[in-house]
């Protein structure tokens, strides 16, 4: 075995995937060639140093955050059946309707904002709002997006919060005004609730 063949086989030797006779030849070369011994030593040292790039764990709220995004995904109109083809066919009418919807939307948004501020905040909400810093900015941003997509996270639709069953760190949902916490009995249930709401 020559030196360049030896070097190309280093990863194969490392993963123990060399066939028996080749492995023996490789090892013989290792014993007899100082240059390749150094190459191999550095190969393995590099491998060992690379182990310092340690694995990380998904954050505890990985699933609930994904569920919220998937719920938003479910709400998006399908391109083939949505308004886009119609809009492209009748652009002027589409623009007019879009403008009207925008005005209605802004009116509704302002009106519902006033309404929300006049609604007494239930205990579950207060608990969530005063939750410790474990509720990240990501939660808030996600939920703002979610609420902004037209969802209506009404407190009366939320099951009773049980702090013993679900620690506050798991409470993660807010409405666009930042004053409604939903949540509940485990990450799965949070998402299911949102999905069920969307399908209604």
């Amino acid at each position: 075995m020559n030196c360049s063949v030896f070097k190309t086989m280093m990863p194969d030797y490392e993963t123990e995937s060399l066939p028996g006779t080749t492995r023996l030849k490789w090892e013989e070369h290792l014993k007899s060639c100082a240059g390749c011994r150094l190459e191999w030593e550095e190969w393995m040292k590099t491998a060992r140093l690379l182990d310092l790039h340690e694995e990380i764990e998904p954050e505890a709220d990985f699933m609930p955050r994904l569920y919220v995004k998937l719920a938003m995904e479910d709400r998006k109109p399908r391109p083939e059946s949505g308004v886009l083809p119609w809009f492209l066919a009748f652009p002027k009418a589409g623009m007019a309707i879009a403008g009207l919807l925008l005005v209605l939307g802004i009116t509704w948004f302002a009106w519902s904002g006033l309404l929300q501020h006049n609604t007494p905040v239930p205990a579950v909400t207060q608990a969530a709002v005063s939750a410790p810093a474990a509720i990240s900015e990501k939660h808030v941003a996600d939920l703002k997006n979610f609420a902004g997509a037209g969802n209506n996270l009404l407190p009366e639709k939320i099951p009773a919060y049980n702090a013993e069953e679900t620690p506050l760190e798991k409470v993660f949902a807010y409405d666009e005004f930042g004053n409604i916490g939903i949540d509940l009995v485990g990450e799965k249930d949070i998402a299911q609730l949102i999905l069920d709401e969307n399908r209604r």
């Binding site: 070097k7 190309t8 990863p11 490392e14 993963t15 995937s17 090892e27 290792l30 014993k31 011994r37 191999w40 030593e41 550095e42 190969w43 393995m44 040292k45 590099t46 491998a47 060992r48 140093l49 690379l50 310092l52 790039h53 340690e54 694995e55 990380i56 764990e57 998904p58 954050e59 990985f62 699933m63 955050r65 994904l66 995004k69 998937l70 995904e73 990501k138 799965k188 999905l195």
Partner: protein, 196 residues
């Protein structure tokens, strides 16, 4: 039909839980593939979520021409390549100090400054590899995938794979050389030191 294919069938038949099962099974692999590629823990989490959203959109059209695992890794690396292009400009404007701040602090009790420094150097060295070499070295070194699967994921031949792996290792070796001096001779070789 393997487990994943059965799970995908369940999803195609309208069973939403099947998708959750795939996410739960693969989220950690996807997250770490991205983390090793970008070197950024804060971004990896959001990018992993984006992978599963893309998967959610595309899974109905998955025909099973490759294994699901291969497909998922391909989706993940495509996102990594796209993000890299998007960030290339931003990174070139970033000062080295800012760049270093993005490296997460050690999650394990390797408290010593030297180890921490070595670790940061490793993360930067991996991140500094050209993307095609980086993908190969990550799949080989951290995911322990056999050559055949790496070739499938990256759609490259065996020769290309091996040469990328060697070039990647060679440049990592140069960057990590300062930390090699005090290391013991690695175990794992069948050769006894006395025989040498």
């Amino acid at each position: 039909m393997d487990d994943d294919a059965l799970t995908i069938d369940r999803f195609k038949n309208g069973e939403r839980r099947a998708f959750d099962d795939l996410v739960i099974k693969y989220r950690k692999s996807v997250l770490n593939l991205i983390y090793r590629f970008t070197g950024r823990q804060d971004e990896a989490e959001d990018m992993a979520q984006e992978v599963f959203i893309r998967l959610y959109r595309s899974l109905k059209d998955f025909r099973g021409e490759s294994s699901f695992f291969t497909y998922l890794y391909r989706v993940t690396l495509n996102l990594c390549f796209q993000e890299r292009k998007k960030r290339a400009k931003a990174e070139s404007r970033m000062s080295p100090e800012e760049d270093l701040e993005k490296i997460p602090s050690a999650a394990t009790p390797h408290g010593e400054a030297e180890t921490r420094e070595a670790r940061e150097t490793v993360i930067k060295a991996v991140r500094g590899l050209p993307p095609d070499q980086r993908a190969v070295v990550i799949l080989f070194r951290y995911h322990g995938l056999p050559y055949r699967e790496i070739c499938d994921i990256l759609k490259i031949g065996m020769g290309t794979l091996k040469s990328r792996l060697h070039r990647a290792h060679a440049s990592l070796k140069e960057k990590l050389r300062p930390y090699m001096e005090d290391m013991e001779i690695p175990t794992g070789t069948e050769v006894d030191a006395d025989e040498l």
